[in-house]
Assembly symmetry: C2
Homo-oligomer: 172 residues x 2
DNA sequence: GGGATTCATTTTAAGGTTCAAATTTATAGG
DNA sequence: CCTATAAATTTGAACCTTAAAATGAATCCC
């Protein structure tokens, strides 16, 4: 269950003789990154459900709106949440039905809709956000400020690298 | 707010005076970690679909089986994939229907089923895995070996911290 | 103005995901 | 044995998610 990298005598320091097609360290890095994200995301999902009876996607959507008091269009939402348009349509419908979201036509563009939190939605979100912030602090309690600083820098580099690779493959 | 059975009474100098809202750096770290994972996962999903006509969850399941030639039980699979039992049941059904998976009763436990890749499934997975490894290398091409080493170490620490926090909350 | 194009959104079909309840089998105690 | 408990899996309901096609509106360009 516990993967202990005990430095096998195989590749101790022979990076020069790298065979083509050996990207084992990158692969292991990716799996570790994914495991961290999945582990934490699952626990956040569980706690949101049990303590607030809300799903994680709904919380995420409300979090975007909370940062944007003037409201956002559905397209903006889907872009920031990194999910599909149809996804946001459905989530929005359910949250409007619950009275947590307001939805109105954009005055300048009749194709677009502006969505924003209702007062009740904002109140509900703020309570959840407070708890959420505490959970995150718990999860990362063993990391020093220097650890977090280093991770922020390295993940920024990681993100930039991935974005470049993806943009190169998919030129829009 | 949270009632935990067996908590010792609060004493006068616990962190009651800690300012709420100063967990901003942890929160930003979490969002950045999640963004990296979501970005890369989405692109992998897209490429698997376009180049191999397979979904990411199916690829993930086959990847687990590829590492375990003797086969695995559904429970083992769900634990390693960090998804629910019912989820694995459905995924397995579809992959068996496609002829990529074999499913047989465990000889020692009639409750359990052993699942493994068929020869065709293994062949298909290997081709996908080769491409997948190349994609990952692309995504992380701008990271130096030292970057990856540092990230591996820091993410191991992150994972351990989160696991500790989650185990503390959910002794089960 | 009018046709082509692009853009914001919705719709539809298929699949993925969770949770909780139900089912079936194993194991432990008496 | 027999009952209680635990374990492995399945089922059902609700929801999330995507991709692709469709709809309706803005914009561009002559």
């Amino acid at each position: 269950m516990q993967e202990t990298t005990g430095t096998p005598p195989l590749d101790a320091e022979t990076k020069v003789t790298e065979r083509p097609g050996d990207h084992e360290s990158e692969l292991r890095f990716w799996l570790r990154l994914l495991t961290c994200a999945t582990l934490i995301e699952g626990e956040i999902r569980r706690r949101l459900r049990h303590e607030f009876e809300v799903t994680l996607p709904r919380f995420d959507l409300m979090a975007q709106l909370d940062k944007s008091p003037g409201g956002m269009t559905l397209g903006e939402l889907s872009q920031r949440m990194m999910v599909s348009n149809g996804n946001v349509t459905g989530l929005t419908e359910r949250l409007v039905a619950l009275g947590l979201l307001d939805r109105r036509q954009s005055p300048s563009d009749r194709r677009a809709q502006l969505v924003s939190l209702t007062p009740e939605g904002r109140r509900a979100f703020r309570a959840m956000a407070r708890a959420h912030e505490g959970w995150i602090a718990e999860f990362f309690a063993d990391l020093t400020p220097a650890d977090i600083e280093a991770l922020m820098r390295l993940l920024a580099k990681t993100k930039a690298s991935a974005r470049r690779a993806i943009a190169a493959e998919t030129p829009r």
